[in-house]
């Protein structure tokens, strides 16, 4: 019928219903206010000992749960300078969770996630060195096939690679930033398989 023929039309005929034009409420030209004025104010809070104790309990509970290992921080670290202690912060909380629960109660696929951080913490030095050696060799292989001036570059990078072995992650990042290439454009295909083992890949470009 005439009910929904478009905006601005009413579903009834003004004259036949018996109303006058003025008695109808005016059309809404903007959305209703977010905080409309209330005619009736709400009742005040009930006070008393019980309520205060409950309040204190609530705040305590929130605070303690924040410190428990069950509170998971998001993985993104917005630090401008990557600190040495960051690596140990994350693995600490994972270890706590690992210790506390009985893994037999969890499905198998969930249990696998917790061996990885322990592995990182334990075999840190060895695998890091190993990886760096491997990467360095790959870089050298690639560069061997280039011409003389690029061979000079490769020797510089070798020294840069040597420096990396002594320190940890920060100088490597500086090395990455020094190149002229935009790192985000480079896709070395490592993300293709998703989260494979050893999340601690430091890809040397």
């Amino acid at each position: 019928m005439m009910a929904s023929r478009g905006r601005g039309r009413r579903s009834f005929n003004v004259d036949s219903v018996g109303l006058s034009r003025e008695s109808l409420p005016s059309a809404l030209l903007q959305p209703s206010p977010v905080f409309p004025v209330m005619e009736m104010k709400p009742l005040p809070l009930t006070g008393g000992e019980e309520v205060e104790y409950l309040l204190a309990l609530k705040q305590d509970l929130r605070g303690t749960m924040r410190n428990l290992p069950y509170y998971i921080q998001s993985a993104v670290t917005h630090s401008d300078v990557e600190r040495y202690s960051d690596k140990y912060h994350i693995s600490e909380t994972c270890d706590l969770l690992d210790w506390n629960t009985d893994w037999r109660r969890f499905p198998r696929e969930l249990r696998r996630s917790f061996r990885k951080p322990v592995r990182i913490g334990v075999s840190d030095g060895a695998t890091l060195q190993h990886k760096k050696d491997r990467d360095k060799e790959e870089v050298l292989l690639k560069l061997e096939n280039l011409e003389k001036n690029e061979k000079e570059q490769s020797s510089e990078e070798e020294e840069g690679g040597g420096a990396q072995e002594e320190q940890e992650e920060e100088p490597e990042e500086e090395l990455e930033e020094e190149t002229d290439y935009i790192m985000s454009y480079f896709d070395n295909g490592e993300d293709f398989e998703g989260e494979s083992d050893d999340n601690m890949d430091e890809a040397v470009y």
């Binding site: 009736m40 609530k58 509970l61 629960t101 037999r104 996630s113």
Partner: protein
């Protein structure tokens, strides 16, 4: 599950478990049962974070897993339900209730269990004993046996229950040739209900001898060594694999009973409420959670079980009982004449009446007492025409019309059309106003959820704002403390104090707590009607 519930669940998860768990939890809520890869793919969260979040959720009983729909071999599916997550709002109330019933020891036991989800009895006892010892003055320590006895009492009254044995452990016990991959005869894994486990409330025999340890400030090395030894020693106690959790349903039954008792006390008399309390106490463990009314109790039994402080004579007790039965709120009903009269407490009816009172009072506070009068009238008389409303409520026609239309626009009152002729002509149809209690209660409950979510949002916003101000003020105070010579300091200090209003945050918290009581009442009413219908 509605959008308000989902939003509130998300906020509660964020407050207590962090943003990652919030994202995973809300995704699961919105999409139903899903397996791990689907969650990772659809939510875009990295795999290891999803795994960690699921572990946290399963640990706290907020998420359950079962073998997939395609049969026993398919991947595990994870599922959450909004009800369980919404209980987080009520945790402080559970802890406070245990404190009133079982003292500080019970309070700490329940608090530890709520914070950690599942724990073994020995772990709980040790942690609680340590915490109590820290707060005791002098060199006194808390015996493990005291804490164990509190624990056993809580289990006896069913406030704590054993976690049902994970179906996975049963599967593991069968020797299966293939370690990875599903064996052909794999049973499908279904989450068990705690009640179906026969030993739900039996306390295991645990060898726990010792006392709580005070943290020693000196001898750090010695403590570390003993801490390591303590970790190894935890295997000694006899209750591996037996995990305990808080039985929230039992707490809800207790809250329901308390609500009925306090309503009786408000409406009638302290003595009447004591009688009702006695009746409820006697039928605590014999009444099933979804029962409409308690088992019938004879007046003789009630007389014998009254607390010793109340020396009322037998005929007076009979009079009180008659009063309770005749009361229009129908808290107590008469079920027979044997034994001096058999009486029951009408649980569902009391809940319905309490919910009705809540809705009526909310209408009164929002729209005024005259609108409330119209609302109550419609509740009692079911269907009324506009003219009848004006007459019965004794309100002038124009105002009655206005109020009715306001209530109608807020969806508290519905319009029922009864045509006289087949073509629904407006002049020849009856228009009756009516109120349906159950849908109105549901709507009010959703409003409550929305309100609590808004309150939490606002509180987090205020905390963020004042966090910056608090940091600023700390810095300012440090500067001020170092320059105490000049006289402008006190003014600046007061100015800074005016900027921060921590009391507002506390108020918001109290509002949320109070709202939870209304939420509880309405939820109980709705679930009671859901069961009966």
């Amino acid at each position: 599950m509605t959008s308000h519930e989902a939003r509130l669940c998300g906020l509660l998860l964020r407050e207590h478990f962090g943003e990652v768990v919030e994202k995973v939890g809300t995704h699961l809520l919105r999409s139903g049962a899903q397996h791990l890869r689907a969650i990772v793919h659809e939510s875009g969260i990295p795999l290891d974070l999803v795994k960690k979040s699921l572990c946290v959720l399963v640990q706290h009983g907020l998420c359950s897993f079962s073998s997939g729909r395609k049969g026993p071999g398919s991947p595990m599916e994870y599922q959450t339900s909004p009800d369980r997550i919404l209980r987080i709002l009520r945790y402080p109330r559970y802890i406070y209730t245990t404190k009133t019933l079982y003292g500080d020891t019970g309070e700490l036991i329940v608090e530890e269990l709520l914070q950690r989800g599942h724990m073994t009895m020995s772990n709980t006892v040790k942690t609680v004993a340590d915490r109590l010892t820290q707060n005791m003055e002098g060199q006194k320590t808390m015996e493990y046996s005291e804490v164990s006895s509190s624990f056993s009492k809580l289990v006896e009254t069913h406030f704590l229950q054993r976690c049902p044995p994970s179906a996975l452990t049963a599967k593991k016990e069968n020797p299966s040739p293939a370690d990875s991959g599903a064996p052909a005869a794999a049973a499908s894994i279904v989450p068990l209900k705690p009640e179906s486990f026969s030993d739900c409330y039996t306390v295991p025999r645990v060898t726990l001898v010792g006392r709580g340890k005070r943290p020693l400030p000196a001898e750090d090395e010695g403590e570390q060594r003993s801490a390591k030894r303590a970790k190894l020693d935890s295997e000694v106690h006899g209750d591996e694999g037996i995990y305990w959790q808080v039985n929230v349903e039992r707490f809800h039954l207790y809250f329901r009973d308390q609500a009925i008792i306090s309503a009786v006390a408000n409406k009638l008399d302290q003595t009447c409420s004591e009688i009702v309390r006695t009746m409820l106490r006697m039928s605590e463990l014999t009444t099933s959670p979804s029962a409409t009314c308690t088992k019938p109790l004879s007046a003789n039994e009630i007389f014998r079980s009254l607390p010793t402080g109340y020396n009322i004579g037998r005929p007076i007790l009979d009079q009180y009982l008659t009063l309770l039965v005749d009361d229009p709120m129908e808290f107590v009903g008469k079920a027979g004449e044997s034994g001096g009269g058999m009486f029951v407490v009408n649980l569902h009816k009391s809940l319905a009446n309490l919910a009705r009172a809540t809705i009526e009072s909310s209408v009164q506070e929002r729209f005024g007492s005259r609108s409330a009068r119209i609302f109550r009238l419609l509740l009692r008389k079911r269907h009324l025409e506009q003219k009848q409303v004006e007459d019965f409520a004794m309100i002038p026609a124009k105002e009655a019309k206005d109020m009715l239309y306001t209530l109608l626009s807020q969806n508290l009152v519905q319009l029922q059309e009864i045509p006289k002729t087949a073509d629904y002509a407006p002049s020849r149809t009856f228009y009756l106003y009516t109120v349906n209690q159950l849908p109105t209660a549901r709507m009010l409950l959703q409003n409550c959820y929305k309100t609590v979510a808004n309150l939490i949002d606002r509180r987090m916003f205020e905390t963020k704002e004042s966090k910056r101000l608090l940091e600023k003020s700390q810095r300012i105070e440090a500067i001020l403390a170092s320059l105490q010579a000049s006289g402008a300091e006190p003014e600046q200090l007061t100015e800074v104090e005016e900027m921060i209003t921590p009391s507002e945050k506390q108020q918001l918290d109290s509002y949320a707590t109070q709202l939870d009581e209304t939420i509880f009442l309405l939820e109980s009413y709705i679930s009671s009607t859901a069961v009966s219908s």
